[in-house]
């Protein structure tokens, strides 16, 4: 890996990663940046194109049909990482697991309602769809919201 450090007088530090963005090395760099900054970037894919997103733009991440999809404010994209990896790396950005296959960005949760089934339904800000918070994950969700 070639590393270039360029001194520049500017307010915000700029990082450019040039190379195969799908490679393990780039993924590691992204994971490192995410872990270090808490508010990093995440690599998403759609129709063989790759995009860098801020976690702020992701509403929720869901596993459907064996694929991990990130539902963003700009559409649905595929994520290469597993749900448990995302749960760990995105925790500091406000993401919490609410059922076996879904992580939600707490900033997009408008309200919840208790269901007769024992589960809870989460309503999202400016979105029609609702998400299920299962009984198993509810206590950790509650603690996460109230901290």
């Amino acid at each position: 890996m070639k590393l270039n450090l360029i001194h520049a007088v500017q307010k915000e530090t700029e990082i450019t990663v040039k190379g195969d963005t799908a490679s393990e090395e780039v993924q590691r760099i992204l994971a490192f940046l995410n872990a270090d900054a808490g508010q990093g970037v995440i690599l998403l894919e759609r129709e063989d194109e790759r995009f860098l997103f801020s976690p702020d733009e992701i509403v929720y991440v869901e596993v459907t049909g064996g694929k991990t999809n990130a539902v963003t404010t700009q559409g649905i994209y595929e994520v290469k990482e597993k749900l448990y990896q995302l749960a760990a790396s995105l925790k500091r950005d406000g993401f919490i697991q609410i059922n076996k296959s879904t992580l939600v960005n707490i900033h997009y949760v408008k309200s919840i309602s208790a269901e007769f089934s024992g589960n809870y339904t989460a309503k999202l800000k400016d979105r029609r769809e609702t998400l299920t918070i299962s009984r198993t994950y509810f206590q950790s969700f509650k603690q996460f919201v109230r901290r």
Binding site: K100, G118, S134, F138, K142, V145, R146
Partner: protein, 134 residues
């Protein structure tokens, strides 16, 4: 192996709760001069408590509706207690046992279900308040 460990954990918690109930019954029997339970009866009730504890595992299943799980739990626990009552010879016949046990079971389960629903509503309120305050 993990499931077996869980069954034993839940079972032993059930036995632990059952032990307190049995101790209370023994104390009451002693206080009012009733006949004390023998070792076999104690064994049946410890086993029944273990099974009821193990059965409680189903309440943690996410695939089924909580009301359905409560009904399944009710049926299984009723069958376990019915078995223990029959083995201990407390009632004259199966029908008499069912008649004696049913009201208590219905009251306990209705009360527990109401408590669970109330707690859910309180949780909903607390989380919505926290979300609003964020």
């Amino acid at each position: 192996m993990k499931t077996l460990t869980r069954i034993f954990c839940f079972g032993f918690v059930g036995s632990g709760i059952g032990a307190w109930v049995m101790s209370a019954i023994c104390c009451l029997n002693r206080l009012n001069g009733s006949v004390q339970i023998d070792a076999m009866e104690l064994l049946y009730w410890v086993a029944a408590s273990f099974l009821m504890g193990a059965v409680t595992m189903i309440l943690y299943t996410e695939k089924l509706h909580f009301l359905l799980l409560t009904v399944i739990h009710f049926v299984l626990c009723f069958a376990i207690v019915f078995g223990a009552v029959s083995l201990c010879g407390y009632a004259d016949g199966a029908l008499a046992s069912v008649r004696a046990m049913m009201p208590e079971f219905l009251i306990i389960y209705a009360a527990v279900f109401l408590v669970v629903l109330t707690v859910s509503k309180l949780n909903e309120h607390a989380v919505n308040k926290a979300l609003k305050d964020r």
